[in-house]
Amino acid sequence: MRAHLLARLLISPSALLILVCVYGYIAFTFYLSFTPSTLLPQYELTGGASYKRLVGLENWSVALSNLWVFASLYIGFALVLGLGLAILIDQKIRAESAFRSIFLYPMALSFIVTGTAWKWLLDPGVGLERSVHMFGWTSFSFSWIKDSELAIYCVVIAAVWQTSGFVMAMFLAGLRGVDSEQVNAARVDGAKTWQIYLRIIIPQLGPVFVSAFVILCHMAVKSYDLVIALTNGGPGRSTWLPSVFMYQYTFTRNEMAVGAASAVLMLIAIGVVVLPYLYNEMNKAKHG
């Protein structure tokens, strides 16, 4: 398919910008990770010393294990909740569009706002715990956000709250695309509603699952603003994610090479998930 000259001309500035500002700088970061850069970029190549240092750092392993906990819970809960909400809304209820908007609305907020709001909500001194105390249930305690072991779950709660509405919208679109003939046939055969969902509808949502999973995956890996607003990496260093590590080491600890190395590893991690998906989609577009 040959594009017109005008179309190419129109698209070339943004293509050029993306080439330089995205891919050019990815290459630059990759290059920096093999240099001894500290405060300012340095350009002589010294091999993979920064990677060696990176994998030996305790902060990095903390960040990785946090990411593992965060990503698996976040993706799991967001998918389950999203699907659940979508199925409930799919029951031909009244005021469907109102509910849709309500559940989708958190997505319109930035993570900074979500993080700040949840920080207040979860803070035992001003938030949920205090409100429940004021209603008279004084033995109620909910101070996860102040606990090094549990704070990461607070990040999960806020992130799931933000995203599950969006996942719901994806599933809802998928549900609307399911062939109603099959469903009606099943009804005639006397299948119960839950059986219809479990056996007929959900198995057809495979592609939506994959899309949602890929989107959530890269959101999990690049989560930064939420953690900064919610816990600022604390208590202690207990809610560091790789992105927090990257920023800290590159911009505040004068270890640019180590920061760049961590950024490269994060990019590879996202690439492993996203590239097969993109490849698949491209093939579909070609043959579809």
Binding site: C21, L39, L40, K146, P235, G236, S238, Q248, T252, N254
Partner: protein, 412 residues
């Protein structure tokens, strides 16, 4: 990445002012009320000399964003005239060879004689003056609410560590929060500065944290330091983590808490709340650190600029050390002058006391740079120490493990 591009373009936009008038471009992160007012002193002094002040404030108290902006400017070969820098950042930037040489001016005005040697350790690199020191903050201060102490039956200023702990426990028993503290790594490290000095003295402090001597770092003294941090941990309230330092000061001001261990910038909060030192609150050195001071100094590092800007830059450096400017500036900033020959007439009792402590410790060689604020060890090591201190304070490391972790952190 994207951000730095934006900074770079913004920086370029600022970089070519149309005015032919002499000017200095100043990059700093002093955006809070008291800080901005203090800076106004220097600004108006320069404006009287016909030098225009191009303000380049980058918000963010720790100056992280400011450093990002600075990197972009220096990399593009167009640095600001003056940049607010602290501690080892000065060493790092000096090593990049991008700072100006202020030696002629320093010799003319006799800076060597009046600026404390411990401060010169940062403002002079490789024998060259590269920065003009404006203020010295001391870190090892306790701020106490007098009414709370009276109610708790604490009558005398504690002179030793044990007396301090006993007093704090009294406050706790009386139903107040004993120690107002915000659980952020830098705040824990700030308290840690004082505890090290109170426990091991200036000699040990320097050996362990400036020379990074493994023997000192793994000594019983170090274990005792962490035990004392543990004592303090029992004195804070349960919701301490993530709280900002000024909120913690507010707890002392409003009588929720008895004590706060914090640098002398906390005084600004008390002054803003219309509280009088000696009447509503008291300030005293952290018990056990009398006669020694942990300091951090604020200075403007002067970058190499073109000949058209150099003259204004020199005038700014000179004005920064002008005794009248030093006095007025530091009264507003809550710090003390960076030269030891300034009169203390304009300062309140806390300020007078701080100036006396600074002069004494300078003479006795017990003036040590802050670990927490990057005046003791390089940035990477400082942050590795932060990690250990904050993890220990949050109960993720026991005392012995923390000592071992400090030794490995010193090798970062």
């Amino acid at each position: 990445m994207k951000k730095s591009i934006a900074m770079l373009t913004a920086a370029m936009a600022i970089a070519f002012p149309a005015a032919a008038q002499k000017n200095v471009e100043v990059l700093h992160f002093w955006t809070s009320g008291g800080e901005a007012a203090a800076l106004g002193v220097l600004k108006s002094n320069l404006e009287k000399q016909g030098i225009k002040w191009n303000d380049m404030p980058v918000a963010g108290g720790g100056g992280e964003q400011a450093m990002t902006a600075l990197r972009a400017r220096v990399t593009s070969g167009n640095p600001p005239s003056a940049v607010l820098l602290m501690g080892y950042d000065l060493v790092d930037w000096a090593n990049q060879g991008v700072l100006a040489d202020l030696n002629p001016l320093a010799a003319k005005e006799g800076w060597d004689k009046v600026v404390p040697a411990a401060v010169q350790r940062f403002t002079k690199q490789n024998g060259k003056w590269i920065a003009a020191p404006l203020a010295v903050h001391s870190i090892n201060w306790v701020w106490a609410n007098k009414a709370v102490l009276e109610k708790a039956g604490v009558t005398a200023e504690p002179k030793t560590w044990d007396e301090f702990i006993a007093a704090a426990e009294k406050v706790q028993k009386a139903g107040f929060i004993a120690l107002a503290h915000g659980g952020q790594p830098w705040q824990e490290a700030t308290v840690f500065d004082s505890v090290v000095l109170a426990t091991g003295g200036a000699e040990f402090y320097r050996k362990a944290f400036v020379e990074l001597d493994s023997k000192a770092l793994s000594s019983p003294t170090m274990l005792k330091v962490f035990q004392r941090m543990g004592q303090l941990r029992k004195l804070v309230d349960k919701d301490f983590s993530g709280r900002d330092w000024n909120v913690a000061s507010g707890m002392v001001i409003t009588g929720k808490a008895g004590f706060q261990i914090m640098g002398d910038w906390a005084k600004g909060e008390f002054s803003n709340a219309q509280k009088t030192p000696g009447k509503d609150y008291t300030c005293f050195p952290v018990p056990g650190t009398q006669g020694s001071v942990v300091f951090l100094s604020n200075q403007f590092a002067m970058f190499k600029v073109g000949a058209d800007k150099a003259d204004a830059q020199t005038k700014m450096a000179s004005a920064s050390l002008d005794p009248a400017v030093q006095s007025a500036f530091n009264v507003l900033k809550g710090a003390v002058p960076a030269r030891t020959d300034v009169s203390d007439a304009a300062f309140d009792i806390c300020g007078k006391r701080a100036m006396k402590e600074l002069a004494q410790s300078n003479k006795a060689n017990t003036l040590v740079g802050s670990i927490a604020h990057g005046h003791a060890s390089p940035t990477a090591v400082k942050n590795a120490f932060y990690d250990v201190i904050t993890r220990h304070f949050n109960g993720q490391l026991d005392d012995a493990k923390a000592v071992a972790a400090m030794v490995s952190a010193s090798k970062s």
